[in-house]
């Protein structure tokens, strides 16, 4: 039984693609056959973050238009045998995604994959609604600031009303909150919303808190999902999130600022 997971947010630049790459890699590393699909047709990035941009031959739109079959378009990750990437087309626009076409591709993928991760484009237009339409689970990526929270809330409303599960009156999509770019010192000074603030507004189950980390940018530029950087706090936080998604109980970390050590205090300018 495969699960379709949409990584969505409404707002752009909050870390959807980073999260898609990290979660799909995490699931694959734990032995689950996983495919990650880039729905951002026209602005594809997932291939860069996954480091497979030089191996793209066919893409998602080609498969929808019957110009290629799935096996021709899927790119196997070099680091993990269980992980495949279905890149977006850079030359087309979102209208190329049809409900029937997307449904058919997801259907075919669900025959042989346990998890199908859909990396949604920003916004609430066609591309984003196509990415979430068939979802079973939604990971709502949110930054601890008001505009991102409101956009996530809007997206949650769309998940609850315009998805296939909503239209067929099936069990609603399981909605999970992933708080990214969390900066505990700034939360403590009141510059940033706290986990509790965001939870109060969105009232969702918390999948994880990803701290603001230099490792994310470094990993993106290198084409390595940040979850593979086990030394980094962001990598560990994503790893915890994967565990939680799979049903393990893992305490939340990175919620509070690290206490400054004696030497730090001594030498602080």
């Amino acid at each position: 039984m495969s699960r379709i997971i949409v990584i969505t947010s409404g707002k752009g630049g909050v870390g959807k693609t980073t999260t898609s790459a990290a979660l799909s890699m995490g699931l694959a590393q734990r032995g689950h056959r996983t495919v990650v699909i880039d729905f951002d047709v026209g602005l594809r990035n997932l291939d860069l973050i996954m480091g497979c941009e030089r191996r793209v031959v066919y893409d998602f739109v080609n498969v929808i238009n019957h110009e290629a079959n799935l096996n021709q378009a899927l790119i196997r990750d070099k680091r993990c045998d269980n992980l495949y990437v279905l890149p977006a087309s850079q030359t087309r626009d979102k209208e190329a995604l049809t409900k029937e076409g997307v449904g058919r591709v997801l259907d075919e993928l669900s025959q042989s994959y346990e998890f199908i991760v859909c990396d949604s484009p920003a916004g609430i237009e066609h591309g984003a609604t196509m990415a979430m339409y068939y979802a079973d689970d939604a990971v709502v990526v949110t930054n601890p600031e008001v505009s991102s929270v409101r956009d996530s809330d809007r997206m949650l409303g769309i998940l609850a009303s315009k998805s296939r599960r909503a239209e067929t009156n099936a069990e609603p999509i399981r909605e999970l909150l992933l708080l990214t770019r969390y900066d505990p010192p700034r939360v403590e000074t009141g510059e940033m919303l706290s986990v509790k603030d965001v939870q109060d507004i969105l009232s969702l189950d918390l999948l994880g808190i990803i701290p603001e980390s230099k490792a994310v940018l470094t990993a993106s530029n290198a084409g390595v999902p940040v979850i593979l950087d086990r030394e980094s706090d962001a990598g560990q936080a994503y790893s915890d999130a994967v565990s939680r998604y799979l049903g393990e109980e893992v305490p939340h970390r990175f919620m509070t600022a690290e206490k400054k050590g004696f030497f730090n205090r001594l030498f602080r300018g």
């Binding site: 409101r150 809330d153 809007r154 949650l156 409303g157 769309i158 609850a160 609603p172 507004i201 009232s203």
Partner: protein, 240 residues
């Protein structure tokens, strides 16, 4: 014998009931007295939908009929009957026209009896409203951009209403979470409707069209349980 005698007396089960009922009927609004032009244009109309006019009772509206012209009722009634319609009444006529209509055994309808056709379809949805007040229950959070309207009754939300969301009801609104969006009670003008909410952080509250935006809600009423109601046409927010 007893049964027989009872049935022969005046105590028999009632043979009829007198009731009032409203109907939506086509109204033919006469705009001038030229019967030839009328005959031609009605003919064209009927040709488009002959079934629609067959055996249809119609009302003749004289409200827009030019003064000083006589209505040729015999011709008119004959014309309409000829196309299968059953003209049964007139409205909006003056005294002389009404007398002429009565002579043709047409009923004289008061203007209030039949409202203009535009308003006529409305009574239909209103009927269930009067019988059984509807009630709407929402158990999931109302998200930014979502609108919920409880037509004809109360609305209860057992969750929060997010900023950018809107809940409205013809009756009262109860919110057992935090209200951060907009809430509009008494949407059809019911001034007795109220909004009850556990935690007021609304963008806007309104009862029967009297509203207040966040800026005009005092700080000491924010974040506490309140009710919002109309007092002498003034919107009041009170702690509960």
């Amino acid at each position: 014998m007893a049964v027989n005698s009872r049935s022969s007396t005046g105590e028999a089960s009632p043979a009829f009931e007198l009731k009032a009922a409203g109907f939506t009927l086509p109204v033919i609004r006469l705009l001038n007295g030229n019967m030839e032009v009328l005959a031609e244009q009605i003919g064209a109309k009927v040709e488009q939908a002959p079934d629609f006019f067959r055996n249809t009772p119609v009302v003749i509206d004289l409200g827009a009929f030019p003064d000083g012209t006589e209505v040729e009722f015999p011709l008119l009634v004959g014309l309409l009957r000829g196309y299968g319609m059953i003209p049964f009444g007139v409205r909006g006529g003056n005294k002389a026209q009404n007398v002429a209509a009565e002579a043709m055994e047409l009923a004289i309808l008061g203007d209030a009896y039949l409202r203009p056709t535009k308003a006529a379809p409305e009574p239909a949805p209103e009927t269930p409203r009067r019988g059984l007040p509807t009630f709407t229950l929402v158990t999931r959070p109302v998200r930014s951009g979502q609108e919920i309207y409880a037509a004809g009754g109360d609305l209860s939300v057992v969750a929060s209403v997010s900023s950018g969301a809107e809940v409205a009801a013809d009756g009262n609104i109860h919110i057992y979470g935090c209200l951060r969006g907009r809430a509009l009670a008494g949407n059809r003008g019911n001034a007795d409707a109220r909004i009850f909410c556990q935690d007021l952080q609304a963008e806007l509250v309104s009862v029967a069209g009297h509203y207040r935006v966040a800026e005009n809600i005092p700080a000491d009423l924010r974040g506490v349980p309140v009710q919002v109601f109309l007092d002498q046409k003034v919107l009041r927010i009170e702690r509960i």
